[in-house]
């Protein structure tokens, strides 16, 4: 369904002829995304990897262009879906009366403010790009767990926000300072100090008065359902160790000159109860750059760059309840102290570190850890995975959730629908030195196998039900009207308030709500 000529022309006048396309080929390609098959199936559609086909794809180059595009959408009653690096079904239109606003051309790193420890970025700056530029100042950014190739702006404003380094770099949503936001009406709003009429700057995004960051997003973001974020200031952190980042060899057999002041510990806690004790103790010491629990098979995966390599790490996969801790330091003193803390904990807890003893990772692991490339290892077994669950509160609930999920997951493993991780496949991390925790259950499936796709969808639904009925926290994927109406009544009727926000900020219902909430319950 292409745009009418006159409407097309209006959009074209904003971005120029090379930056809009409503041809069948381009628009169809934009209808494809990872996990669309089982998301479609969950919505009682055919398990196709394609979503609704957008009417057109448009590539703005500036905030003003985005605003004009959205105003036109309002004028013509056409919905929009914005995307940055575009990974995942959340980027897909939920209706064919929709254009995709691909923010790829908005890729400026506006500034790195060394003194005030933040960076201002546009949507198409990738995590790796931001990190390497921050490193030049001895600084680091919080990298989205999805990997260094995705957009930190999207993570900060619109998506989820965990990362492997969350114990030391927190959560994307909590690292947000100033924000530039094109509302669903096309009005541009600037949050915090960047909204000052005189001498605006990016160092703070709250107020005056209440912080509209609370409307912008929650634990997860609004996935373009509340407008388009065109610039954001994100907090920077000290780079955890020496910034010397020397890769050797050729892809895929990269070596890495391990920088000074980096040490990995992997320990098998054997039980979830003991894991909780260990994790809390380690976190209270405020020493870890990374502190994660993965299942044995997950652990083997982060140390493997191929399925063959993974098979060779069967011993790691046999660990019952492993914890992975990476400590980093800036000086000899700091490094010595942190190692001493770990030595003491290991002794006190009577636990064994296998690193350097029964197992030593390839040096490239450290490069991937520093660059947050580890999440991508989830793809090496079946070709695709998606996480169920995704709640966040204490370590205790994360581990209870992990335990309670095992029998459910085993049902689907036995049916051959999802990959066999003994039901224990999980990634759990602490945040802010253990002030809260999050767990998700990466689940492997094969997107080319219908049985697997359908099984995955059914497992996701069952897992959501488990979280709901057993009070294990709200999963990541409580988004979209159907899910909100399922969970809302059990959660302070939040869906009613979220809907009011949608109605107030998007009076013409122009921002695609497929992964947010529709203004009317029957839509």
């Amino acid at each position: 369904m292409v745009l009418e000529n006159e409407i097309f022309k209006d959009f074209e006048d904003i971005v120029g002829k090379n930056n809009i396309n409503d041809g069948k080929v381009i628009t169809t390609a934009y209808a494809y995304n990872w996990c669309m098959e089982f998301f479609n199936y969950m919505e009682d559609k055919e398990p196709s990897p394609f979503s609704s086909i957008p009417k057109a794809v448009i590539l703005p180059a500036s905030t003003e262009e985005v605003a004009e595009i959205i105003k036109l959408c309002n004028k013509y009653g056409i919905k929009f879906k914005a995307q940055s690096t575009g990974l995942g079904p959340w980027n897909q239109p939920s209706t064919d009366n929709c254009i995709i606003v691909d923010l790829r051309r908005m890729n400026k790193l506006v500034k790195i403010d060394e003194k005030n420890l933040y960076a201002v970025i546009e949507p198409y700056v990738s995590g790796a790009q931001l990190q390497v530029e921050a490193m030049k100042y001895g600084l680091n950014c919080h990298m989205p767990g999805a990997g260094p190739h995705v957009s930190p702006l999207a993570s900060a404003t619109s998506m989820a926000g965990p990362g492997f380094t969350s114990p030391s770099t927190g959560h994307s949503a909590r690292n947000v300072l100033g924000v530039e936001w094109v509302l669903p009406t096309g009005d541009i709003m600037r949050l915090g100090a960047i909204g000052l009429k005189k001498k605006p700057d990016w160092y703070n995004g709250d107020g005056p008065g209440p912080s509209l960051r609370g409307i912008m997003r929650g634990w997860v973001g609004a996935k373009s359902g509340i407008g388009v974020f065109t610039k954001v200031a994100v907090k920077l952190f000290p780079y955890p160790c020496s910034t010397d980042f020397t890769i050797t060899g050729k892809s895929p057999n990269y070596g890495f000159k391990i920088p000074k002041y980096l040490r990995l510990y992997v320990m098998d806690c054997k039980t979830y109860e003991f894991l909780e004790e260990v994790m809390l103790k380690v976190d209270e010491e405020e020493i870890s750059f990374m502190c994660s629990h993965l299942s044995g098979s997950g652990l083997a995966a982060i140390f493997s760059n191929s399925l063959q390599g993974l098979i060779g790490k069967a011993k790691l996969a046999q660990l019952k309840v492993p914890i992975v801790i990476l400590i980093t330091a800036r000086t000899d003193r700091e490094f010595d102290y942190k190692q001493k803390v770990m030595d003491n904990l290991i002794q006190e807890l009577n636990i064994k570190d296998i690193i350097g003893k029964s197992y030593s990772p390839e040096p490239v692991f450290y490069a991937e850890a520093l660059r947050s490339n580890l999440g991508l290892h989830g793809f090496i077994t079946t070709g695709s995975f998606q996480s169920s669950k995704g709640g966040s509160d204490t370590a205790a609930v994360c581990l209870l959730s992990t335990k309670m999920n095992i029998p459910l997951k085993m049902e689907y493993i036995k049916s051959g629908a999802i990959g066999n991780d003994s039901g224990k496949g999980v990634w759990m991390t602490s945040y802010e030195s253990g002030h809260y925790y999050h767990m998700e259950s990466p689940t492997m499936f094969d997107q080319t196998d219908d049985h697997s796709v359908k099984g995955m969808a059914e497992y996701m639904e069952a897992s959501n039900q488990l979280d709901l009925l057993k009070h294990l926290g709200a999963p990541f994927f409580v988004e979209g009207t159907q899910m909100h109406e399922l969970f809302g009544p059990h959660m302070s009727n939040y869906h009613i308030w979220l809907r009011k926000i949608k109605q107030a900020f998007d009076p013409n219902n122009i921002a695609d709500s497929g992964f947010y909430i529709s203004p009317h319950s029957k839509e």
């Binding site: 394609f50 995942g88 691909d102 790829r104 057999n253 660059r371 997107q447 697997s452």
Partner: protein, 435 residues
């Protein structure tokens, strides 16, 4: 290369992660030079990327889209540089480059490929044995009289169409260096034909095989032991693609490999100072794409539901074994030459923009890409950018000209000539003489 069944399977496996748009994540050193794909850099819409083209292949297969000129234009706006392939395969098991090649073949079969401009080149290859519409009998016009050719030599210099007709200085330089090293060598005279690369890369496999056979027959008839190329494209075609269809009994070397060995063996003496700061551009055909296919005969073993492995492990062609060190070692051996690297090098080198028919069909795209590369070279502080491929040579020099850059381009063998004592002016003189 993949068969149809594997193609149909793999095109359903793209996760749209866009890693194909970037150099390998661990290699990113700056925001400015983080990207790998010239097509997405130029055209921005996702289908132009490696992953985007996989989606197009799937959409075509699922009949979500029909073959069309719109589709053809996107698919052919690709230099087939293989950068996407390297980045993807750091962790994944997709074959973006082969899928793109196969998709082009499908478009040819459906009557939608190649691009009309490219068709002219292909027609010329068929008619004139070269893509440039030049008479075959003029193929040796570049050859100065004072080059010593030895009809009985066991080393053959395969000149290639582009050096023969368009980048004559490269052919001359290669021959001068061979003479200077005292290596007896032969050339194929009028028996040298287009290597077939242009037809292969646009999907006409039968014509490709004809040219392969003509060349291999001619070389084998002369009892040649070693064939040396200064053209990365011809080298890649001989080394990587001929063996997919026919085995041959001679060794192939790019001149950078051969000359580097000659220097190491003391046969080629570099006595003159070349006090230039030089950066090297890895041609895709000499770098990542020069990695040969390794034959795999094994089986797929189902370990457990959804998880299968290849037994024995199936080699993954990741650009690991391209020719990367020889040109660098060679440059470092030139007295007083200061060698300096660009950010994107070796298996994640940025393409010059000329390959896979792009220069002919989409010259503005080729130039845009080359300008990007020239900027990267300039940022190193180098005075000279060098490479070892006639297509890269032409395109990079066009970009230097168009962007008013102060950089100079020399073929790597021209730098060798300077180090041997044959100055740049002398080279021009030769060219004048030949003209």
């Amino acid at each position: 290369m993949m068969d149809d069944e594997e193609y149909k399977h793999l095109i359903r496996r793209c996760i749209r992660c866009s890693i194909c748009k970037w150099i390998p994540q661990l290699q990113i050193k700056s925001k400015k030079y983080a990207t790998i794909c010239p097509a997405i850099d130029m055209y921005n819409f996702h289908p132009y990327s490696g992953g985007g083209k996989i989606i197009l292949a799937l959409a075509l297969e699922m009949e979500k889209i029909k073959p069309s000129e719109e589709l053809r234009d996107i698919v052919y706006k690709c230099t087939e540089c293989g950068g996407c392939d390297v980045s993807c395969k750091f962790l994944n098991n997709l074959e973006p480059l082969e899928i793109i090649i196969k998709l082009r073949e499908k478009l040819v079969d459906l009557g939608y490929g190649p691009m009309p401009k490219q068709q002219q080149y292909i027609d010329s290859v068929k008619k004139n044995n070269n893509p440039y519409n030049e008479p075959h009998e003029n193929r040796l016009n570049w050859l100065p009289e004072d080059i010593n050719i030895d009809p009985n030599a066991q080393v053959l210099y395969f000149v290639g169409c582009t050096s023969s007709y368009r980048r004559k200085e490269m052919a001359i330089a290669a021959c001068r260096v061979l003479n200077a090293a005292g290596v007896p060598f032969n050339i194929l005279d009028n028996e040298e034909y287009c290597c077939g690369s242009p037809v292969f890369r646009t999907g006409d496999i039968n014509t490709f095989k004809d040219f392969m056979n003509k060349n291999v027959d001619a070389i084998e008839a002369k009892n040649i032991k070693k064939v040396v190329f200064s053209c990365a494209g011809c080298y890649d075609t001989f080394k990587v693609h001929y063996p997919l269809y026919r085995n041959y009994n001679f060794e192939v070397k790019h001149s950078v490999e051969f000359f580097n060995e000659l220097i190491e063996n003391g046969k080629l003496l570099l006595t003159k100072k070349v006090p230039l700061t030089v950066t090297y551009h890895d041609p895709c055909h000499l770098g990542r794409n020069a990695e040969p296919y390794k034959e795999w005969k094994g089986k797929v073993v189902n370990l457990m539901p959804l998880i299968s492995i290849h037994v024995p492990p199936k080699p993954k062609r990741c650009g690991t074994d391209g020719v990367y060190e020889s040109p660098r070692e060679l440059l470092k051996k030139i007295p007083e030459l200061k060698f300096i690297e660009m950010e994107r090098i070796k298996e994640y080198s940025y393409c010059c923009g000329a390959g896979a028919g792009v220069k002919s069909a989409f010259p503005e795209f080729a130039l845009h890409t080359a300008k990007n590369r020239i900027q990267e070279a300039e940022d190193t502080g180098a005075q000279v950018i060098t490479s070892s491929c006639p297509f890269c040579s032409t395109n990079l020099q066009d970009a230097i000209h168009e962007s008013d850059s102060l950089l100079k381009y020399y073929d790597i063998n021209e730098l060798l000539m300077m180090a041997i004592g044959i100055t740049d002016e002398k080279l021009k003189e030769f060219l004048g003489e030949v003209a």
